[in-house]
Amino acid sequence: MIAPALVAEVATFVADEARLLDDRDYTAWLALYAEDARYWVPVSTEQRTTTEGPMHFHDNKQLMMARTHRLMTPRAFGAEPSPRTCHVVSGTRIDALADDGEITASSSQIMLEWRARGHFEEDVRVFGGRVTHRLRRAATGGLIIAEKRIDLVNAEGSFNAMLAPL
């Protein structure tokens, strides 16, 4: 039986991470990730590892840095405005608790995204799926993310540009 306090802590942590993305506070967001962290979005729920085929996202921390750095200065490059998002999180639970304290948690998330392209309703997209976090204890006592995997409901589908991390 998992301590309710831990479940609550994890649920808050997962919600807070999503909130940082909505805030586009990417510096704080990156700080939640371990140096060896992996952030990935498979193209099929059947992909068990990151070496089975291409993925929508497969980022290590450097790629996360580059990706977010770019979102912070679109105008500088004549690129379109960065999207704005809103995440809602539900049903966060702890799926596994390893002896070394590593926590595997999962949640259901739906994300609304808006790109300012002047196409009205078409500029709004809805993403959603199962999000799985592998979490560790940081020296500071807080949680850090070792891995985040997002299984989109339409993982196998075809996407238009996805600029913002999910």
Binding site: Q62, E80, A161, M162
Partner: protein, 430 residues
């Protein structure tokens, strides 16, 4: 009852090295492209390893037409439209599967063999004397042929042989296959799909364009450099290097070769800095030597071509074992599907690099690709207005370096590959 398009004259669209923007915005022109270009050219469809055993099938597209490729009992690959000859339902709902007994229509259960032969009609008695099965076979794709395991289809009965269509570009496929220590390559079961609101030709006219990266991808170059600054250039991961590569000076691309070939094909040749450093101790290189002998092996490893275009259906990247199929859907909607290949017998690392390349170069989430997709959509919008109807294709018009019957060599900065595409386009559309 659709009103007929007026007669077609290529000069309406191609004139003095300019293309009329209607080529990207006119739905009726698109309809003609489907019949005249995708109805005549050889279209890349799949690789042998995707349907290894009899009964295996995949559903692919020739233009806007879905086709089922099935391995028949003789091991041959058959191609038919994904359409029942009875009332027109699609036969297959899944993009791949195993149908050893043929394809059964979900509506009334008619069964068709891999080659479209009508094998079973439900309640056949209803048709005695009024319907001959042989009249309701599904018409086969006129030609299916493969080159070194890569399967192409052609709807035109009068099509030239595949090898003739490929011509010099057969080397694009050789380049990929020869890199396998066993001569065998295997397609990943997982594909990477993205789409954009724009014309299919935009991709072909962008992929060999070596001027745009320094501008269109400046954001990712700068971001990658920012990361390099943070972590130290010596510590950057391959993905970051890939982004920085777009920042090479124009002089680099000016020196680099572009090779264009009849039929609209092309590639960027020469020295992208991705050639293998000869290393006799390296197991992979040893394996290639064992297979090809030292001379050819070093030639293969030394080959360093960038995206090779097989107009009008696919782009090839042998060095990273990635193929992209460009699928036209509407004049203003296009899907691009990425496939990665395992070099059987090569170290796992080779495979991992291929995956990384495909993910970085073909995902809608790739900072690089998302730039390109944005550009395609901005061109669709921009080509919808303004008084200027003609788009220049003049870059590098006078800079060709070598011309043979098989190909022409120009600086990689030239728009020759676009002119070359429209030459093929005009010929087929006529």
């Amino acid at each position: 009852m659709a009103s007929q398009p007026s007669a077609f004259d290529p000069a309406q669209y191609i004139r003095d090295e300019h293309v009329n923007r209607a080529a990207y915005t006119d739905p009726q022109l698109f309809a003609r492209e489907m019949t005249h270009i995708f109805g005549r050219a050889w279209i890349y469809l799949a690789h042998d390893s995707e349907l290894p055993v009899p009964g295996d099938y995949v559903v692919r597209h020739i233009g806007t037409q879905a086709v089922i490729l099935t391995r028949d009992d003789d091991g041959a690959v058959q191609a038919i439209p994904n359409r029942c000859a009875h009332r027109g339902s699609t036969l297959c709902a899944f993009a791949k599967g195993h149908a050893p007994h043929g394809h059964q229509c979900p509506y009334h259960g008619w069964m068709f063999a891999a080659d479209g032969t009508l094998k079973f009609v439900s309640n056949r008695a209803n048709y005695e004397g009024v319907l001959a099965n042989s009249d309701y076979n599904i018409e086969r794709v006129a030609h299916v042929a493969s080159y070194r395991g890569f399967i192409f289809g052609n709807l035109d009965p009068a099509a030239p042989p595949l090898v003739e269509f490929l011509g010099h570009m057969a080397t694009a496929i050789d380049d990929l296959v020869d890199r396998s220590p066993t001569g065998e390559v295997k397609c990943s079961p997982y594909q990477l799909r993205h789409h954009y609101r724009g014309n299919w030709k935009m991709t072909f006219e962008n992929v060999n364009d070596t001027i745009h990266p320094g501008f269109a991808h400046a954001a990712s170059v700068v971001s990658a450099k920012h990361v390099a600054g943070e972590v130290g250039r010596e510590n950057v991961v391959p993905g970051i290097n890939m982004m920085m590569a777009n920042g090479k000076p124009l002089s680099f691309f000016q020196e680099l070769d572009m090779v264009t070939a009849p039929g609209g094909h092309s590639y960027i040749g020469g020295h992208m800095g991705m050639a293998y450093t000869p290393d006799a101790a390296n197991a992979y290189q040893q394996a290639l030597v064992a297979l090809h002998g030292p001379e050819k092996a070093s030639k293969v490893l030394g080959l360093d071509r960038h995206l090779m275009l097989l107009y009008p259906s696919s782009t090839w990247h042998a060095r990273y074992q990635t193929i992209r199929i460009v699928r036209p859907i509407r004049h203003d909607l296009t899907e691009v599907i990425g496939y990665t290949f395992r070099l059987v017998g090569a170290p796992e690392e080779t495979w991992v690099n291929a995956i990384e390349y495909c993910t970085g170069a073909n995902s809608a989430a790739s900072p690089v690709i998302s730039d390109d997709l944005e550009i395609y959509e901005r061109c669709l919008e921009g080509n919808g207005y303004g008084a200027r109807e003609w788009i220049p294709m003049l870059r590098g018009l006078r800079e060709d370096r070598e011309a043979t019957n098989a190909f022409t060599r120009s600086p990689s900065t030239s728009e020759r590959f676009i002119r070359n595409q429209y030459a093929a386009w005009a010929e087929m559309m006529a």
